[in-house]
């Protein structure tokens, strides 16, 4: 088969898959989790498609796929502001994923350290957390442990590299969104109240989607350690 036709077919398939998964993301409400304490979180299943593209396509294809996903799903389900936020998250997460795809264990290590730091930062601001804050601190600690475990796994077995890339991408997505949100709202306070929590949640969710993506890759027999 013509290789261009193959590429176009694959691109279309991935774009439509990311739209469907984006819809699934909206259908699974994570907001009830922590009783609305952490607004606007979702599973990020659509990011597994981008993760797949990062390992299979060149960077131009990835950028195109990301833009297609952001704009099409924005026009289909969202609004202008939704496009703005998902674009900022998408751009930053794609840059980070392209950067760490070849040394994913470094990505996992950095995310682990970042989660640890944000946990310590939250604790320093609020030394005796109760209620929502206690749950968040525990969650971020869990995220940090998970990221360090991912680092160890990837070092042992390079086939787990997707996990590190997924972690880094999910956290970068959240960081990009919060940067834009705090700029638009002109509330830099978001950066020290909300960002540490989102780093932790991004790491947890990124771990989950990373495991999913790794299983999919193995089923499809994609070599992830040689991008």
């Amino acid at each position: 088969m013509n290789s261009t036709a193959r590429k176009v077919a694959r691109f279309g398939l991935l774009a439509s898959l990311s739209l469907v998964l984006g819809f699934l993301d909206r259908a699974i409400p994570l907001t009830w989790f922590l009783s609305g304490a952490v607004p606007g979180i979702k599973l990020g299943l659509a990011n597994t498609v981008l993760l797949y593209a990062v390992y299979l396509m060149d960077w131009r294809g990835c950028v195109l796929l990301m833009l297609a996903k952001v704009f099409l799903s924005g026009f289909l389900f969202g609004s202008m502001s939704a496009i703005l936020y998902s674009l900022s998250g998408g751009v930053l997460s794609l840059i980070v994923m392209l950067l760490v795809r070849k040394n994913a264990k470094v990505g996992a290590l950095v995310i682990g350290l970042l989660a640890l730091l944000s946990d310590l930062f939250l604790l320093s601001r609020n030394p005796a957390p109760r209620g929502q804050m206690l749950w968040c601190v525990l969650l971020i600690a869990l995220a940090s442990i998970a990221a360090f475990a991912a680092f160890v796994y990837i070092r042992k077995n390079p086939a787990f590299a997707v996990l590190g890339t997924s972690l880094a991408g999910a956290v970068a997505h959240n960081v990009g969104q919060i940067l834009v949100a705090s700029t638009v709202l002109r509330t830099p306070q978001l950066l020290y109240t909300y960002l540490p929590v989102l780093v932790g949640i991004g790491a947890v969710v990124g771990c989950l989607t990373g495991v999913v993506a790794q299983r999919v890759f193995r089923a499809l027999r994609v070599e992830t350690n040689q991008p």
Binding site: W32, L34, A37, P39, R60, L84, Y85, P129, M133, L185
Partner: protein, 142 residues
């Protein structure tokens, strides 16, 4: 990707992005948002308090102050945006919460109430934020 895709679609997407992004920033100067306090139009600025209370509620749109009023008084605020967006904020005197909004995700409604007790315990601190409408409510000291 094919050559045509690379040559045409990528610039097209980028041009669309460039055209859309400035449109996202609402021009607060041209058409101001309306604020109704207990059903009557509010001219803007802050509401004075004689209660000697330290906590105040600050409502901003795009980071521009709309109104600020004492936490300890009971009021119903309606924020009516020029593009049709509405946010209904309720102050009970003990708590502040977003009662209703016509945004797409209702995260602000789900964020619950800010009270004197949970100010330090909430993840969002004293903030209730409606991201699609860029309306932010903050409870803090003067």
């Amino acid at each position: 990707m094919g050559n045509a895709l690379r040559r045409w679609l990528l610039p097209l997407f980028l041009a669309a992005a460039c055209a859309l992004l400035p449109g996202c920033q609402r021009s607060a100067e041209n058409e101001p948002a309306r604020v109704l306090v207990d059903g009557t139009e509010w001219p803007g600025g802050s509401m004075d308090a004689d209660s000697g209370d330290d906590l105040r509620v600050y409502v901003t749109l795009d980071g521009v102050a709309l109104i600020d009023l004492p936490f300890s008084e009971a009021h119903a605020l309606d924020i009516l945006l020029p593009d049709g967006g509405e946010n209904h904020i309720v102050l009970t005197g003990q708590s502040v919460f977003m009662q209703d909004a016509n945004c797409e995700n209702h995260d602000c409604v789900d964020m619950g109430a800010v009270t004197r007790e949970n100010l330090e315990l909430r993840v969002m601190g004293g903030f209730i934020i409606c991201l699609p409408h860029r309306v932010s409510v903050e409870v803090r000291g003067e």
